[in-house]
């Protein structure tokens, strides 16, 4: 691209100079003759000086152009302008980054977590991606490369991120509980976690007495 530019610009400038040289106004004599200064013809002397000045000017212009292209080639990054006014390689670079959040299917690849996937599909959480609750395992900046350990240290907070009663949270999309009221209703101790009653993936009630407790039983 740059080479094409340089050649075309060079041709443009050269042709303009040639055109000027042959058709410039030089009085009656037409294009000047090249004569040495030692020659006796004093009338041609002025023309000769003018021609040497032109040559110098042309030289300076050519040097400047070459310099400009050298500087441009040095400053403009590779592949810039290939597809538009940007570095074409940048697009490749930004698509080359590795994804960190994987799909639920990839958790079941090689049947590693096939059980959990099937279990999750049983309950109303079936649409939720594993990583929505578990985070991008092994990529977490805070947890480093923890994998299994990470999965079993989930607190009530994770459930409440979605299930806490909140202004603006649409009740038709997610069933909500007020933590304190839920606790009061089912009369459980604050130490008890959500997953002590709601089975972690399929959401079935583990604590069979839980429903009875509401009636003030137990």
């Amino acid at each position: 691209m740059d080479a094409a530019w340089a050649i075309l610009m060079g041709l443009t400038i050269a042709s303009s100079i040639v055109t000027y040289y042959f058709f410039r106004p030089v009085g009656e004599g037409g294009p000047p003759k090249f004569v040495s200064l030692e020659g006796k013809d004093f009338y041609d002397r002025d023309a000769s000086i003018a021609s040497s000045h032109t040559k110098r000017l042309v030289l300076i212009i050519v040097v400047l152009i070459v310099l400009a292209f050298a500087v441009k080639g040095f400053l403009v990054p590779k592949s810039f302008g290939q597809d538009g006014f940007y570095r074409a390689d940048a697009l490749v670079e930004s698509s080359d980054r590795e994804p960190r959040h994987m799909t639920s299917e990839s958790c079941g690849n090689g049947s590693c977590h096939k059980y959990e996937i099937d279990d999750l599909a049983l309950g109303l959480h079936f649409k939720i991606s594993c990583i929505s609750c578990h985070g991008a395992m092994g990529h977490s900046r805070t947890y480093g490369d923890v994998h299994a350990e990470d999965a079993t240290t989930m607190q009530n907070g994770t459930c409440l991120e979605c299930h806490q009663k909140l202004t603006g949270r649409p009740a038709n999309v997610v069933p909500q509980v007020d933590m304190a009221a839920h606790q009061r209703e089912y009369a459980y101790e604050s130490g008890e976690g959500c997953i002590d009653c709601h089975s972690k993936h399929n959401l079935m009630l583990i604590d069979e007495n839980a429903a009875d407790r509401k009636e003030g039983g137990q």
């Binding site: 691209m1 094409a4 530019w5 075309l8 610009m9 041709l11 443009t12 042709s15 303009s16 055109t19 000027y20 058709f23 410039r24 106004p25 990054p77 810039f80 302008g81 290939q82 597809d83 538009g84 006014f85 940007y86 570095r87 074409a88 940048a90 697009l91 670079e93 930004s94 698509s95 080359d96 980054r97 590795e98 994804p99 960190r100 959040h101 799909t103 959480h125 649409k127 939720i128 991606s129 990583i131 929505s132 985070g135 991008a136 990529h139 977490s140 900046r141 991120e161 979605c162 909140l166 202004t167 603006g168 949270r169 649409p170 999309v173 997610v174």
Partner: protein
């Protein structure tokens, strides 16, 4: 004679310019291109902030900066409304500072780059570090960016920020590293309620049909930025 010189000069120069234009057109490469569509359904957003967290992790977003964030619009009965986004939503929304009796409606609005077709951020970049890719998405070349901040100021949606770790402007690119591999963006992947939907070459036909039925609109359409990001059934007042 002077006449001729000028004419030939103009002719040669314009011929050169034209061939330059043609050459650059011919050299432009054609890659594999997809159509991407993103639709947000605020009526399904439960404000769990999992998208914000996933985005930060996926894209190494520095603290207190956001490529995507959640705002809560609380509309009051007296026609006014308040907008909150405590630390992009990460600090938890809690209850709004309004008497619950005065609240008419409250809704969570996920925000991210709108990928405008007629975007101001592209026009102000002095070095070509922010650009529209062949698929119409706006990208940032963080290597080439000089961090002048013009684009950050020009974005009417406040979607851009200065990334102190890379020394460049930064914003959501709809997880281009994922969608170019056929995956959905990280925020869409973790969304539990399908409040964010993404379609690659029409993989989610609902987006196109909602768009065709005219149920969607972009943010601040009156300013003519022509955002590609579609919001489904958006409240009139949401900007």
């Amino acid at each position: 004679m002077t006449e001729l010189s000028r004419r030939s000069f103009i002719v040669t120069t314009s011929a050169a310019a034209m061939s330059c234009g043609l050459a650059s057109y011919a050299l432009a490469g054609a890659g594999e291109e997809h159509t991407y569509e993103f639709m947000v359904d605020p009526s399904k957003c439960i404000g769990c902030i999992h998208c914000v967290k996933a985005c930060i992790l996926e894209n190494d977003v520095p603290e207190h900066n956001f490529r995507t964030w959640i705002e809560r619009y609380t509309f009051k009965k007296d026609q006014t409304f308040i907008v909150e986004s405590p630390n992009g939503g990460l600090d938890g929304f809690g209850e709004p500072d309004v008497d619950p009796k005065d609240i008419k409606k409250a809704v969570f609005i996920p925000k991210l780059c709108n990928q405008c077709d007629n975007t101001p951020c592209l026009q102000v970049c002095p070095v070509g570090a922010t650009y529209m890719g062949p698929e119409g998405l706006i990208h940032i070349d963080s290597e080439h960016c000089i961090g002048c901040g013009y684009c950050i100021q020009s974005c009417p949606y406040g979607a851009r920020f200065y990334n102190h770790e890379t020394g460049a402007a930064d914003k959501c690119d709809w997880c281009y590293h994922r969608i170019s591999k056929g995956m959905v963006p990280a925020c869409v992947e973790v969304c539990p309620t399908e409040a964010r939907r993404f379609s690659i070459d029409g993989s989610d036909p609902l987006i196109a049909s909602e768009k065709n039925e005219g149920n969607t609109r972009g943010l601040r359409q009156s300013i003519g930025t022509e955002p590609k990001l579609a919001y489904l059934g958006l409240e009139e007042k949401v900007r």
